[in-house]
């Protein structure tokens, strides 16, 4: 119990009559890479949206590091150290890497009421370091994100989360639509997160990707958790069979 960084307690969610989450209780353990699998409509996305502040639970409780919290907006989740990385949703393609890294959390030289002058030198130097830290080789922090490949974008998003010292990183289908080579890179990122003690929630349709980089697998179906086992205690066949 004490090593749970996020504890979800009996969380329910209804969508206009549909019971999307039927009392989910789940611990996300500190430093663990957890694979969340399940079919479309199983409730994975709903659960993640609640943790990242995009949606709100209708009932139930969420504890972060043992304390009950209220996550009403994406910013609340980020302030608690929970960062969600969506396949395409977390980067602005028309902006540079350096600007993307600091969207909404720009370093300011001075400010009045939250609005102020950007510290662009700091943004540049810190983004160079942040990108190098995740072992991503990019030519310049001034390049537009729109020119990066899918895998590189995931890398930048992960670099951003690490830069802001996120404790929990939720990766929503990070390997979708990626080539084999790019997928390997993303799986490499997840492994390196684990090495740095960052809790990681890896959502995927692809069981092989989950088994390649996670410690524990949780399967959801029809709004409930139907399987919760350590990777070494289960197999792809068992998980696939339950789903």
């Amino acid at each position: 119990m004490s090593d749970a960084i996020i504890a979800v307690r009996d969380v329910h969610k209804w969508y206009s009559g549909v019971h999307a989450l039927k009392g989910i209780t789940l611990d996300f353990k500190r430093g663990e890479a957890l694979g969340l699998v399940g079919d479309n409509g199983a409730g994975k996305s709903t659960l993640i949206n609640i943790l990242s502040g995009v949606q709100r639970a209708d009932q139930g409780e969420i504890l972060v590091e043992g304390k009950p919290v209220r996550i009403a907006r994406p910013r609340d989740a980020m302030d608690l150290g929970i960062e969600t990385i969506y396949q395409y949703n977390s980067m602005v393609p028309t902006m540079s890497i350096a600007r993307n890294l600091f969207i909404g959390r720009e370093p300011l030289r001075f400010s009045v009421g939250g609005i102020g002058i950007l510290d662009q030198a700091k943004m540049r130097s810190e983004s160079i370091r942040a990108i190098a830290d995740v072992d991503l080789h990019l030519r310049s922090p001034d390049a537009l994100v729109g020119e990066l490949s899918g895998g590189q974008r995931q890398g930048v998003a992960i670099a951003r989360a690490m830069h802001f010292k996120s404790k929990v990183m939720i990766l929503d289908e990070p390997t979708n639509h990626l080539s084999v080579k790019e997928t390997k890179k993303v799986i490499g990122f997840v492994r390196s997160l684990k090495e740095q003690g960052i809790t990681c929630v890896f959502i995927s349709h692809n069981m092989y990707h989950v088994f390649e980089c996670c410690d524990r697998v949780v399967a959801m179906a029809r709004g409930e958790v139907v399987l919760d086992k350590r990777i070494e205690d289960t197999s792809i066949d068992e998980v696939a069979g339950i789903l």
Partner: protein, 325 residues
């Protein structure tokens, strides 16, 4: 070298700037040197700020991903409000404040209705185009009121500078242009505007208050348009209810010629200014070159399409230049 080339190809205002330089050269030759002489430049720079200020507002709003068709009507409503208040005895500063508040309110309504009812800003502001124009005529009672004689016109329209080259309005315009440009490029708020227009889901998921950002841009756009209208009223010496008709589309054309994307996220204040200048240059240059003035709208139309095509092409070229590693 290659990187430099690429960086410049990616600049959205580049196509407009090249066209501007080319046209100035052409008109200078065609008009036998009259185009760039002091008197003509003085005339052009004297009216540039009025459309320029509107274009700045429209450009910034467009970068945030929205659109305003009501600027031409607000351009007329603000000075009319002021004139009516002054006729009833209000001092100039008070009338100015009230006029700007009316503009802010219109911008707020434009933004609020667009965002909270999730309807296209094209529709909201098209409605506002009619509403604000109608209000202008209603408050004037059909007759443009006579302006008091003691207005501080010197603050906005007197000629200043070496050889009396500029009107005061140009200084206001330059100051506002620098401030808004800095806001876009060097403040976190500018970053939010670009993110909101560039890719709304990402901006929202990173915790940017996108609704408030857009609302602020709507308000800014309306206030700049009204301010520009007031400058025109002071220059003409009378609040005409018909001023600014068609201005909304000129301002959109200026923004687009200057490289702003209708889809949001891309554009610069400088680009909007280049676009406005280009329109003014064509307007003036055609006359001086003794071309039938009815070709003016043709030229603007052609230019708008051409600039967008050229920009798209250059962006594609820039993307194709692969940098190592």
């Amino acid at each position: 070298m290659k990187r430099l080339f690429k960086t410049y190809l990616e600049k959205p205002e580049l196509a407009g700037l090249i066209l501007l330089v080319l046209l100035v050269i052409v008109f200078q030759i065609r008009s036998n040197g009259v185009f760039l002489n002091q008197d003509n430049l003085r005339g052009m720079l004297g009216i540039l700020p009025e459309t320029g200020l509107v274009a700045i507002g429209v450009t910034i709003l467009m970068i945030s991903g929205e659109f305003d068709l009501s600027v031409g009507s607000v351009f007329a409503l603000m000075p009319m409000t002021m004139a009516v208040l002054m006729v009833h005895g209000a001092p100039f500063p008070l009338a100015l404040l009230a006029g700007l508040l009316v503009c802010a309110a219109i911008g707020f309504i434009n933004g609020y209705v667009t965002i909270w009812f999730a309807i296209p800003s094209f529709i909201t502001t098209l409605g506002m185009l009619f509403i604000a124009r109608s209000l202008t005529i209603v408050v004037s009672g059909g007759f443009p009121p006579l302006l008091p004689a003691d207005l501080p016109t010197w603050l906005f329209t007197s000629f200043v500078g070496p050889g009396n080259m500029f009107r005061m309005s140009f200084l206001w315009f330059a100051g506002i242009a620098v401030l808004t440009s800095l806001m876009l490029s060097s403040t976190n708020f500018g970053n939010w505007i670009k993110a909101t227009g560039g890719f709304h889901p990402a901006a929202a998921s990173m915790g940017i208050p996108t609704a408030r950002v857009k609302l602020a841009c709507f308000v800014l756009c309306s206030m700049l348009s009204g301010f520009a209208g007031m400058i025109q009223m002071l220059r003409l010496g009378s609040p005409l209810p018909s001023i600014g008709e068609g201005l909304e589309l000129q301002a959109v054309a200026a923004a687009v010629i200057g490289g702003a994307s209708l889809a949001g996220g891309i554009g610069t204040v400088l680009g909007g200014i280049i676009g406005t200048t280009l329109i003014r240059v064509i307007d003036n240059g055609l006359v001086l070159s003794q071309v039938d003035a009815n070709w003016f709208k043709f030229a603007i139309g052609f230019l708008t399409i051409f600039a967008v095509v050229a920009n798209a092409w250059m962006r594609k070229r820039a993307k194709a230049i692969k940098m190592e590693g």
